[in-house]
C-alpha cells in the first residue's frame, strides 16, 4: 500500500469542560474523497481546524506524505497544499469576484491576469463565474464557487470542504459533485464534511465517523446503507416521526398579494407572495438561504408590518398588527437565529420564557410580572422538551445550540398556537433532537394547528410537510402536495441552478 497523503495519528484536543477530539486517527489517500461524518458537536470542525493550522492539537501527530506535519498557522498549511472552503463564506459583498479572490492571496497578480486565471479555472472545472460581478449580487451557490476557485488557484493537494451543500439547490449540488469528481480524477484528495448521508453515499470513497470526539468507525459509503451510517453517527436507533393521516380544516392563515421591501440593504424583497394554510396542515417552504426566508418570518411574526389585508388569520386582517397582538390571537413564530432573535443570550431561561409567553400564558397582570408562574412555564418547557440544563435560572447562551432550539420551539408549541411559523426548526440540532422537534410539530398539526415550516433541509420538509412551496428571490412558488414531488421538480421550484442555462421559472 502506498503512503497516504495525510495520516492523522491519535489527535487529541480538549477545551475546558469538553474533549473535542479524543485520539482520532485515520488516513486520507491520494485522489480519495474522504467523508468526515458526525453530528453537530462531534468534533468535525475542531479536527479540520487542526489540519488547517487554526488550532493546535494537545497531542498526536499528523504526517503529510510521510513527513511530520504541524502547521502553526493556515498560511503554512496552504503552502503545503491544503485548502479549505468554509461553511460560512468570508466574502465582501461590495467587492467583485476578482477583488475578493485577490484579497485572500499572499501576492496577488495584476487584476487582468487574475481575471483570466479565474476564467480559466472556472471553465476547466465547470464552475461558471464572471470575475467582474459584484459578490453582493451572487447567489449562495455562486458565492461558494468563488470560495472554491479561490482554493483551486492554489493548486491544492487536499481540499477540505465544510458542509458545502447546505446552501445549494439540487441542481447546484450536481454541478459541485461533477467538479469534485474531476478534481479527484486529477489526483486531488478531498476531505468532505457533511451529515447528509445520501450525498456521501454518491460521492465519497471512504468515510470516517466521529461521535463525541471519538472515531467510532469507518466504512465504504457506497456499500453501507444511510440508516446504518446514521445509527453509527448517533449511537442509537433512530425513530422516524410519525404522521397520522388527518383531515384539514378551514383556511387558518391566508397570505395574498404580500409584497414587502426588505428592511436591510442586502436583504430580499418579498414579491407578491400568496399562500393558504389550513388547520392541521403543514406547509413546507424550501429554498436556498437568503431568498426571503427571514423577511417572510418577520412579516408573519409582526416584526415587519404590511398592508392589513395581505395577511388574514381566520378571516381577520392582521397585517398591521404587531407581534404581541398576533400572539394574543394565536399566531406564534420561532425565528431561525436562536441567539439574539428568538432568545436573549445573557438572560435566563425564565426570562426567555417570558419573552414570548407573557400574553398567552398570563405571566403578567397590569404590566407586573409573575415570576413564579414564569419560572414554572420555563420548567414546563425544559421538562416537556427534554432541554438539557441544570435549571431555568441559567443563561440562554450556556445551552448548546440543539438544546436552546428545543427550548425555543417548545416555548411556542406549549402555548397551543392556532398558527405556528417556524424557520429552520432543526438547524444545527443533533439527529435525535431534530426528530423530537419534528414530532412535536406534527403532533401540533394533528391537534389542528396550521403550521408553516421554512427550512433549507429538503429531507426534513419531505418528511413533515403536507404541501410544499419554494422561495426564490422573494417569490413563492405555488404550493403543491408533497406526495409525488420529485427532486427535479423541487429543484425547479427553487429556481434551478443559478447562473446556469436552466430556464428561470
Amino acid at each position: 500500500m502506498t503512503t497516504p497523503l495525510l495520516s492523522l495519528q491519535g489527535l487529541t484536543k480538549a477545551y475546558p469542560g469538553v474533549v473535542a477530539n479524543d485520539q482520532v486517527s485515520f488516513d486520507i489517500g491520494e485522489g480519495e474523497v474522504h467523508a468526515l461524518l458526525g453530528e453537530n458537536g462531534a468534533g468535525k470542525s475542531t479536527l479540520v481546524k487542526m489540519i488547517y493550522g487554526l488550532v493546535k492539537p494537545d497531542s498526536g501527530t499528523m504526517l503529510l506524505r510521510g513527513q511530520p506535519f504541524a502547521p502553526p498557522e493556515p498560511r503554512a498549511a496552504r503552502a503545503d497544499g491544503i485548502a479549505m472552503v468554509f461553511q460560512h463564506f468570508s466574502l465582501f459583498d461590495a467587492l467583485n469576484v476578482a477583488e475578493n479572490i485577490a484579497l485572500g492571496m499572499e501576492n496577488p497578480p495584476p487584476m487582468g491576469d487574475l481575471a483570466s486565471r479565474i476564467r480559466e479555472v472556472s471553465e476547466t472545472y465547470g464552475l461558471p463565474l464572471d470575475p467582474f460581478r459584484t459578490v453582493g449580487d451572487l447567489s449562495a451557490g455562486e458565492r461558494q464557487r468563488v470560495e472554491i476557485i479561490r482554493c483551486l488557484l492554489q493548486d491544492p493537494k487536499l481540499l477540505i470542504m465544510d458542509e458545502p451543500t447546505s446552501v445549494l439547490t439540487p441542481q447546484e449540488v450536481e454541478i459541485l459533485f461533477e467538479t469534485l469528481n474531476k478534481l479527484r480524477s486529477e489526483g486531488t484528495s478531498i476531505l468532505y464534511i457533511s451529515h447528509k448521508l445520501e450525498e456521501i453515499r454518491t460521492l465519497c470513497d471512504h468515510a470516517t465517523i466521529l461521535r463525541l470526539g471519538k472515531n467510532v468507525g469507518e466504512c465504504i459509503p457506497s456499500e453501507t446503507s444511510a440508516r446504518d451510517m446514521a445509527e453509527m453517527m448517533v449511537g442509537t436507533i433512530l425513530q422516524t416521526p410519525e404522521r397520522s393521516g388527518r383531515e384539514f380544516g378551514d383556511v387558518a392563515l391566508d397570505v395574498s398579494g404580500l409584497s414587502v421591501p426588505s428592511p436591510s440593504d442586502f436583504g430580499t424583497t418579498l414579491k407578491n407572495v400568496h399562500m393558504k394554510v389550513r388547520k392541521g396542515e403543514v406547509l413546507g417552504i424550501g429554498g436556498v438561504a437568503g431568498n426571503g426566508q427571514d423577511e417572510l418570518l418577520g412579516v408573519l411574526s409582526g416584526e415587519i408590518q404590511t398592508a392589513a389585508d395581505a395577511i388574514r388569520f381566520n378571516g381577520q386582517a392582521i397585517g398591521k398588527l404587531g407581534p404581541t397582538a398576533r400572539r394574543k390571537l394565536g399566531v406564534l413564530t420561532a425565528p431561525e437565529e436562536r441567539l439574539g432573535h428568538a432568545a436573549a443570550p445573557d438572560m435566563s431561561l425564565t426570562e426567555n420564557a417570558l419573552l414570548t409567553g407573557s400574553v398567552r400564558e398570563g405571566l403578567e397582570s397590569n404590566g407586573f410580572l409573575k415570576w413564579a408562574e414564569t419560572q414554572s412555564f420555563a420548567k414546563k418547557i425544559i421538562e416537556s422538551f427534554d432541554v438539557r440544563t441544570p435549571g431555568p435560572e441559567n443563561a440562554a447562551r450556556s445551552l448548546s445550540g440543539g438544546n436552546l432550539q428545543k427550548f425555543v420551539i417548545g416555548r411556542e408549541v406549549l402555548q397551543n398556537p392556532d398558527v405556528l411559523v417556524v424557520n429552520q426548526p432543526t438547524w444545527g440540532v443533533d439527529a435525535a433532537a431534530a426528530a423530537s422537534i419534528r414530532q412535536a410539530i406534527l403532533d401540533l398539526a394533528a391537534k389542528g394547528t396550521a403550521v408553516v415550516c421554512i427550512s433549507q433541509d429538503l429531507d426534513e420538509l419531505m418528511e413533515i410537510s403536507d404541501s410544499f412551496a419554494a422561495l426564490n428571490e422573494g417569490r413563492l412558488s405555488a404550493p403543491r402536495e408533497t406526495t409525488g414531488l420529485t427532486v427535479d421538480e423541487i429543484g425547479l421550484m427553487m429556481g434551478g441552478a443559478h447562473g446556469m442555462e436552466v430556464a428561470h421559472v
Binding site: 475546558p16 502553526p72 416584526e303 432573535h341 428568538a342 432568545a343 410580572l369
Partner: protein
C-alpha cells in the same frame, strides 16, 4: 501569554466583587500617584475616605454627603434606565439646568405669595423642564434617526447659554443691585427646599432620590416595561420579536431620565444652591454617568455608588485644603475609579487564563 475566555454563564461572585476590587485598586494606584506627588499616600487616602465620615468635623461633612449624593443618585437612576436599553442620554447636565430654570421660574412667578402649593408646582415644573429638554433628542431620534448621544450632549451647551441668559435677564433679582443671579429661594419660605430635619442634610431631593431607587428597582425587576428595557439593551432583535415598540421605549427612557435630572436641578436650586446663577451647574449631570456605571446600572448599586462618589468629592476637597493636593490629582483619582471598574467588569463575563505559548 494571557488569554481571555468567555464564561458560559456570567459570574455572580465577580459581579458583586468587581466594585470592591475596583475601589481597592484605585486606592493602591491612587496612593502611588499621591506618593509621587510627595504626599503621604496612607494619609491622603485616609483623608479622602475616612475624614468625611468619622473625622473631627464629620458632623459638618456627613450632611454634605447627602446633599452631594442625592442629585447624583437621582440623575444616575434616570440615566441607567436608558443605558440599560442602549439609549445613551449624555446630556443630563443640560436637563438638570433646565429643570432648575423651570422650577425656579415657577417659584419666582408666585413671589412673594405664601401658599403650600408653590413648592409642589415647582417640583412639577422642574420635572417638566428636564423632560422637555430630553424630548428634543428623543423626538429627533425617533423621527429622523439622529444620534441621541450627540444631540443630548450639544443641548448641554445650549442649556448653559440659556442659564446665563436668564440669570442676567428674565430671572435676575430686581433687588440684586445689578449683580447677576436670581432672588435667593432659600429666603422665600414657600419655595425653599429646606432640610427636613435641621442639620441632617436631608431635603426633599434626598427623599425623591430614595423613592427613585425603589421605583427603578420595581420597574426593572417586576414590571413588563422594565423587562422590555433590559431586553432591548441585551438583544434588540429579540426585543422587537417580543413586541417592543422601539420608538415608545426611546421616548420613555429619555423622557424619564430628563424628568429625574430636571427634578435634581430643581431641588438643588431651591435648596443647597438657592440661586439661579451663571455658575449654577457643577457637572452633576456628567458625574452621574460615572455613578450609573459604577453602580453597574443597578438601582441599589447606584445608591451605593452615589454615596461613594460624594465621598470622594468631599474627601477630595478636604485633601485639597488640608494636604494641598492639586485638584487635578483628585480628578485623576476619580477617573481611576471608573477605569478600574470597567476593566474589572470584564471578569464578570470572561476569565483570564494563562495559555501556553504556542510554538511552531
Amino acid at each position: 501569554m494571557i488569554v481571555l475566555e468567555k464564561r458560559p454563564q456570567p459570574s455572580k461572585a465577580w459581579s458583586y466583587a468587581t466594585p470592591l476590587v475596583a475601589v481597592l485598586a484605585t486606592m493602591v494606584c491612587g496612593g502611588i500617584l499621591f506618593a509621587v506627588l510627595g504626599k503621604n499616600p496612607v494619609q491622603a487616602i485616609g483623608t479622602i475616605f475616612w475624614e468625611p465620615l468619622f473625622g473631627e468635623f464629620a458632623f459638618y461633612y456627613r450632611p454634605q454627603l447627602l446633599v452631594k449624593g442625592a442629585p447624583l443618585v437621582l440623575i444616575a437612576i434616570g440615566l441607567s434606565l436608558g443605558f440599560r436599553a442602549g439609549i445613551w442620554n449624555i446630556g443630563a447636565e443640560g436637563q438638570y439646568i433646565m429643570g432648575a430654570i423651570f422650577g425656579a421660574a415657577a417659584g419666582l412667578a408666585f413671589y412673594p405669595l405664601d401658599a403650600w402649593y408653590v413648592f409642589p408646582i415647582m417640583v412639577i415644573a422642574g420635572a417638566i423642564g428636564g423632560c422637555l429638554w430630553a424630548m428634543i433628542p428623543a423626538f429627533l431620534k425617533v423621527r429622523f434617526g439622529t444620534n441621541e448621544i450627540l444631540v443630548s450632549l450639544m443641548l448641554v451647551y445650549v442649556a448653559e447659554q440659556m442659564l446665563a441668559s436668564v440669570s442676567l435677564g428674565l430671572l435676575k433679582n430686581p433687588e440684586g443691585f445689578g449683580f447677576p443671579g436670581s432672588r435667593n429661594l432659600q429666603s422665600y419660605e414657600s419655595a425653599h427646599n429646606a432640610e427636613l430635619i435641621a442639620g441632617s442634610g436631608m431635603h426633599w431631593g434626598v427623599v425623591t432620590a430614595l423613592i427613585a431607587v425603589i421605583f427603578a428597582y420595581v420597574l426593572l425587576n417586576r414590571h413588563m416595561l422594565g423587562f422590555h428595557i433590559r431586553l432591548t439593551g441585551e438583544a434588540p432583535r429579540a426585543a422587537k420579536f417580543a413586541g417592543v415598540n422601539p420608538a415608545r421605549l426611546i421616548l420613555f427612557c429619555l423622557g424619564m431620565s430628563g424628568a429625574l435630572a430636571g427634578l435634581a436641578g430643581m431641588f438643588e436650586v431651591s435648596g443647597p444652591s438657592g440661586v439661579v446663577s451663571i455658575d449654577f451647574n457643577v457637572g452633576y449631570g456628567f458625574t452621574a454617568i460615572i455613578v450609573a456605571f459604577l453602580g453597574r446600572l443597578h438601582p441599589v448599586g447606584i445608591l451605593l455608588a452615589g454615596g461613594l462618589m460624594a465621598l470622594t468629592y468631599i474627601g477630595g476637597e478636604i485633601a485639597q485644603s488640608q494636604l494641598g493636593l492639586p485638584a487635578a490629582a483628585i480628578q485623576v483619582f476619580q477617573g481611576m475609579l471608573l477605569f478600574f471598574l470597567l476593566a474589572f467588569d470584564l471578569l464578570t463575563n470572561y476569565r483570564i487564563r494563562a495559555a501556553r505559548r504556542e510554538v511552531a
